[in-house]
C-alpha cells in the first residue's frame, strides 16, 4: 500500500509536465493576445511593444516554455501578467476560500444525500423515493446562477437575514492562521466571527450543495439496490439480522465504493469549477481567478492554476484509492 501511494505521488511529475506542455500549446494556438488585454483602450503602439518586451512575450514560444519549466522547477510559477503578483501568492491567498466552500457544500450534500438515498433504496418506488428523485432532478436542471440569484433575492433581499455576497463583513478583523475562516474563528475562540463566517457561507453552500445532493442520493440508491439483490444480503436476512443492520452494515458498506468515487469527483469539480457561484456571490475563490486568467490571457496565472489543480486532483485520487481499500478490504491496489 505504501509503495503504491509513493509510486502514485511521484507519478504527479510526468502528469504535470504533460499538462503544462498542453496548456502552453493551447495558449499559443488560442487567438487573442495578452498584450491587447493588458493595455488601456487608449494604448499606443509603443505601449504594446513595451509591455510585450516586459513580459518576454516577444520571445519565441519554445524559449518561453523552457523559461517557464526552468523557473517552475524551483517552485517559481512566474508573475501574473494582470495582477503582477507571484502566481503562487495569488493562488494560495484564495485557495482556502474555495476549499472551505467546497468542503461545506460536500458535507451538506453527504448529510442530506446519503440518508435520502439509503431510505429511497429501502423503499424503492415509494412516494418518498419518487419525491426525492424528482427533487434531485429539479435541483440539477435549474442552473446555478438561477438558484443563486433566487437565494439572494429571498434570503438577502426579501427576508434580509443573510448577506448578499462576499466572505466576511467589513472590519471582521480576524487574524488568519489557516485561511479557513470558520477554523480560524474556532481556534481563536472568536465565536462572533464564526457566526459571521457561517452566515456568509450559508447561501453559496446551499447553491453548490443542491446539485451534488441529487447525484449522491441517486448513486447511493442505485448502488444500494444493486447490493440488496446480492446473495450475502439474503444470507444476512436469513440469519435474522434486523433490517437496519442489513441496510447500513451490509448493503451500504458495499455501496460506499461508488458513493466515495462520486463524492471525490464532485469535490474536485467544486474546487475548480464553482465559477458561477463565485461570481454571483462575489466569493473570493480560485474559480473566478481562472476565468479571469483565461479572459485576460494571463498565461502564467492559467498555467499556475491548472498545475495546482492537477496536483490537488492527483492527491485526491490517491486519497480515494486508499479509502477504497479501507471500506472494501477485497480491493487491493496493485
Amino acid at each position: 500500500m505504501l509503495a503504491f501511494t509513493v509510486k502514485r505521488l511521484f507519478g504527479v511529475i510526468p502528469v504535470l509536465l504533460v499538462v503544462s506542455l498542453m496548456i502552453f500549446a493551447l495558449m499559443q494556438a488560442a487567438p487573442g493576445d495578452p498584450v491587447s488585454m493588458l493595455v488601456s483602450d487608449e494604448a499606443s503602439a509603443e505601449d504594446r511593444e513595451r509591455i510585450a518586451a516586459a513580459w518576454g512575450l516577444d520571445q519565441p514560444a519554445p524559449v518561453q516554455y523552457a523559461n517557464f519549466v526552468k523557473n517552475a522547477a524551483t517552485g517559481d510559477f512566474g508573475t501574473s501578467f494582470r495582477y503582477r503578483e507571484p502566481v503562487m501568492d495569488l493562488v494560495l491567498a484564495r485557495l482556502p476560500a474555495s476549499i472551505e466552500l467546497a468542503l461545506y457544500a460536500t458535507l451538506l450534500a453527504i448529510a442530506v444525500g446519503i440518508p435520502l438515498g439509503v431510505l429511497a433504496a429501502a423503499r424503492p418506488n415509494s412516494v418518498f423515493d419518487t419525491i426525492g428523485s424528482i427533487g434531485g432532478f429539479f435541483g440539477i436542471s435549474m442552473p446555478n446562477f438561477w438558484l443563486g440569484i433566487l437565494m439572494i433575492l429571498i434570503f438577502a433581499g426579501y427576508l434580509n437575514i443573510l448577506p448578499s455576497g462576499g466572505r466576511e463583513p467589513w472590519g471582521l478583523d480576524l487574524p488568519r492562521i489557516t485561511g479557513f475562516l470558520t477554523l480560524d474563528a474556532v481556534l481563536q475562540g472568536r465565536w462572533d466571527a464564526l457566526v459571521h463566517a457561517l452566515r456568509y457561507l450559508a447561501l453559496p453552500t446551499i447553491v453548490l450543495g443542491t446539485a451534488m445532493t441529487g447525484i449522491i442520493m441517486q448513486i447511493t440508491r442505485a448502488s444500494m439496490l444493486e447490493n440488496l439483490g446480492e446473495d450475502y444480503v439474503m444470507t444476512a436476512r436469513a440469519k435474522g439480522l434486523s433490517n437496519r443492520v442489513v441496510l447500513w452494515r451490509h448493503a451500504f458498506r458495499n455501496a460506499l465504493v461508488s458513493v466515495i468515487t462520486i463524492i471525490g469527483l464532485e469535490f474536485g469539480a467544486l474546487i475548480s469549477g464553482a465559477i458561477i457561484v463565485e461570481t454571483v456571490f462575489s466569493w473570493p475563490g480560485i474559480g473566478l481567478l481562472l476565468i479571469q486568467g483565461i479572459t485576460f490571457r494571463d498565461f502564467p496565472l492559467i498555467t499556475g492554476l491548472v498545475l495546482i489543480y492537477t496536483t490537488l486532483f492527483v492527491l485526491l485520487n490517491v486519497f480515494i484509492d486508499i479509502l477504497y481499500t479501507i471500506v472494501d478490504p477485497r480491493i487491493r491496489m496493485r
Partner: protein, 286 residues
C-alpha cells in the same frame, strides 16, 4: 419491511409497459418529435423579433403562450426549435463520453498495475484541464460550431464514468462469480463483457442522467462566452444564458427552458430505470 415486499418492489420494475416506462417514453418521445417536426409545430418563426412585444409574460389565450424574450421572440417556438440542438448535444456528449469512460474504467480497474496507473495518469491530465481554453483554441481553427461544443464538453465528461467504472470493477474482480468464470477458462474480454459490465450499468446510468442536464446547461456557459452554437440557432442553454439578466423581472425566460431540461432528465431517468432492470442479470434471480 421484509424480503417479500422488497422482491415485489424489484419485480414491479418489470418490462417496458410499466407506468414509469410509458411516462418516460412519452416524455422523451414528445421532445424528440417536437424537435424533429419543429417547423410544423412551432407557432412562430423562432428568429422573428418584435421589439414592441419584448418580454411579454405568458398569455393563456395566446398567441405567446409562454411569453416572449428580450427582443420579442416567441418563447414556445424557441423551446421547440431548441430541443433539436440541446437534445443532440446532451445525447452525443453523454454517449461518447460514456463509452470512452466506461471502457477505460473497466480496463483500468480489472487489470490494475501498470495499465491502471497509465490510464489514471491520462485521466489526471485531462481532469484539471480547463475545457474553456480548449474550446477557445478549437474555435480558432474550426470556427464556431456544434462539434466544438460536443468535443469541449466531452473532453472531461468521460472522467466520472471512468473513475466509477474502475472503482466498481476493482470491487468485482475478485468476487466469486468472476473467479469462477475465470477458472472455467473465460477470456478477459468475455469476463469484462458478461460479468463486469452488466454490474456497473446502474451507477453509470445515474451518472449519465445527471450528465445530460449538465451538458445542456454547460452549453449555455460556452454560449455566454461566445464559444457555443452560433447565436442564430436557438438552444435551451442559450435561452438560459439570455435569461440571466432578467431573472427578477421576467421569470418565464429562465423557468421554461429549465423545465424542459428537467423533463428531459426525468424522462431519461425513467427509461434508464426500465432498461436497467431489463438488463440487470440479478433481476433474473427473482
Amino acid at each position: 419491511m421484509t424480503t417479500a415486499t422488497y422482491t415485489r418492489a424489484r419485480m414491479s420494475y418489470g418490462f417496458l409497459l410499466t407506468p414509469k416506462a410509458i411516462f418516460g417514453l412519452i416524455m422523451i418521445g414528445a421532445l424528440i418529435i417536437a424537435g424533429a417536426f419543429a417547423p410544423f409545430i412551432a407557432p412562430f418563426n423562432p428568429a422573428r423579433q418584435d421589439l414592441l412585444m419584448a418580454m411579454t409574460p405568458p398569455q393563456l389565450t395566446g398567441p405567446h403562450y409562454l411569453g416572449t424574450d428580450h427582443v420579442g421572440r416567441d418563447l414556445l417556438s424557441r423551446l421547440i426549435y431548441g430541443a433539436r440542438v440541446s437534445l443532440l448535444i446532451a445525447i452525443a456528449v453523454v454517449f461518447f463520453s460514456g463509452i470512452v469512460g466506461v471502457f477505460l474504467g473497466i480496463v483500468s480497474g480489472y487489470f490494475g498495475g501498470r495499465i491502471d496507473s497509465f490510464i489514471q495518469k491520462f485521466l489526471e491530465v485531462f481532469w484539471a484541464f480547463p475545457p474553456l481554453l480548449l474550446a477557445i483554441a478549437i474555435v480558432a481553427f474550426l470556427g464556431q460550431s456544434l462539434t466544438i461544443v460536443i468535443v469541449a464538453l466531452a473532453s472531461q465528461r468521460w472522467i466520472p464514468y471512468c473513475r466509477l467504472a474502475r472503482a466498481e470493477t476493482m470491487a468485482l474482480r475478485d468476487r466469486e462469480f468472476v473467479v469462477a468464470a475465470r477458472s472455467l477458462g473465460a477470456g478477459h474480454a468475455r469476463i469484462l463483457r458478461e460479468h463486469i459490465l452488466p454490474n456497473i450499468i446502474p451507477s453509470t446510468l445515474v451518472v449519465g442522467t445527471f450528465a445530460m442536464a449538465t451538458a445542456i446547461i454547460s452549453e449555455a456557459a460556452l454560449s455566454f462566452l461566445g464559444l457555443g452554437v452560433p447565436p442564430s440557432i436557438p438552444t435551451w442553454g442559450g435561452m438560459l444564458a439570455d435569461a440571466r439578466a432578467y431573472i427578477s423581472t421576467s421569470w418565464w425566460m429562465a423557468l421554461f427552458p429549465g423545465l424542459c431540461i428537467f423533463l428531459t432528465v426525468l424522462g431519461i431517468n425513467l427509461l434508464g430505470d426500465v432498461l436497467r432492470s431489463h438488463f440487470d442479470p440479478k433481476i433474473k434471480n427473482f
